[in-house]
């Protein structure tokens, strides 16, 4: 069957089979290789994308059920003007080791900071609890998220951001 959806603001359509997931369609039908194929059971978060405004594991979304949906992937975050602030922060803080989990983490982090611009250390750890980094580089990851949060706060309000000190330790 054919499904029609919007991906990163552009109308797309794809022929899908019943057993296919949104992840399969993004990668194999639409050539968007950012969302990664790892556990295929919602454990690792490396396929995180936004579906109609919700952060989801694309591997757990049945492709046939995304008819009419709006999907955004990691490919939609950067613009001509440059990297998304979360991507910039991941680069600056060295929050990438092998990189396989990075796209999912970037999408999850961008979603978190949209929802909670003042996310605490605990909020960050909770929000990223479904994104596994098997290089175990969690310290730099949490620092990168806190730095992106603080940079956004500074951009809005020139007064020093009241970040919790443990994020920087």
């Amino acid at each position: 069957m054919i499904v029609t959806l919007e991906v990163n603001g552009e109308p797309r359509s794809a022929e899908v089979a019943g057993w296919e997931s949104l992840l399969w369609v993004l990668r194999e039908r639409l050539g968007l290789l950012g969302a990664k194929d790892a556990c295929l059971q919602g454990e690792c978060g490396s396929c995180s994308v936004m579906l109609d405004g919700a952060l989801v594991c694309a591997c757990l979304v049945m492709a046939a059920d995304v008819e009419g949906a709006q999907v955004s992937t990691v490919e939609g975050l950067a613009s001509r003007a440059g990297l998304h602030p979360v991507q910039r922060s991941f680069v600056d803080e060295g929050a990438v080791q092998c990189g396989y989990c990075t796209p999912g983490l970037v999408v999850a982090t961008a979603h978190l900071l949209d929802e909670r611009p003042d996310a605490s250390h605990d909020d960050i750890r909770e929000a990223l609890s479904g994104n596994l980094c098997r290089c175990t580089g969690y310290g730099a990851l949490v620092r990168a998220v806190a730095a992106a949060r603080d940079a956004a706060a500074t951009a809005i309000d020139p007064a020093p951001a009241d970040g919790d000190s443990e994020d920087r330790s």
């Binding site: 069957m1 089979a17 019943g18 057993w19 997931s21 295929l40 059971q41 919602g42 454990e43 978060g45 995180s48 579906l51 919700a54 952060l55 989801v56 594991c57 591997c59 757990l60 979304v61 049945m62 046939a64 059920d65 008819e67 999850a108 909770e126 929000a127 609890s129 479904g130 994104n131």
Partner: protein, 267 residues
Amino acid sequence: MLIERPQDLPEALEGIGGSPHAVLLAGGTDLMVEVNLAHRRPEAVIALRRVDDLQTWEDGFIGAGVTYARMETGPLPALAELARTVGSPQIRAVGTIGGNLGTASPAGDTLPFLAAIDAEVVLGSRDGQRRLPWHEFLVGPKQTALTPGEVILGVQLPDHIPARQAFAKIGTRQAMVIATVNCCVLRDDDGTTRVAMGAVAPTVMRPREAERLASSEPRPSQAALDEFQRLVSAEVAPISDHRATEQYRRHAAGVLARRTLERCLTP
């Protein structure tokens, strides 16, 4: 594969009645794991996420399509606590209470709350509705009383909701974990106590002897709590599997139930 994407409840009920063996799809967090691992290849699917009637949460009725994310910020403390222990934000954004009931895992995290509060499961078909008490709906591990042509519409809670509520769960980490043991305790100001335990029997269960003891104690002493713990451990009927041994679960069930009760006793 055929898929129907009904836009409202009448259309959904008609579709389910017309394809009684179609697989019902809500959040997909259980079904798609089986599909991805090639354990299942559904021939027909009815996708329910567009049906607004299933998203209703009014008074004591919680629609089958209510997600864990909504439960987390909802008015019922134990339901909010348990929702926060399910999966990850990605799972909680789409996973539903109706899906948890339909999957009927012995470890399902909403089930101890629904059992403790004596919820009824509301089922619908194109022929009408029926309500079943939780213990008549959950008939075995991954087995329910849902018949072909029916769909879970939601759960009906009783009018009286105990003020003191707590949920706790044991697993190998804080997130992304299926319960080794889970537990919900509800307590009224007069001491009436309801306890439900998951992952320690073929379905969620109520340790009735332990409930009677706790209910008879306005301010349970340490000795009474010891006895409560012992009774819970004696009443559960766990198995050994890849998550834990029967002995571990039996011990952990008593400890977990006691701690959860103690939380309900804290002023």
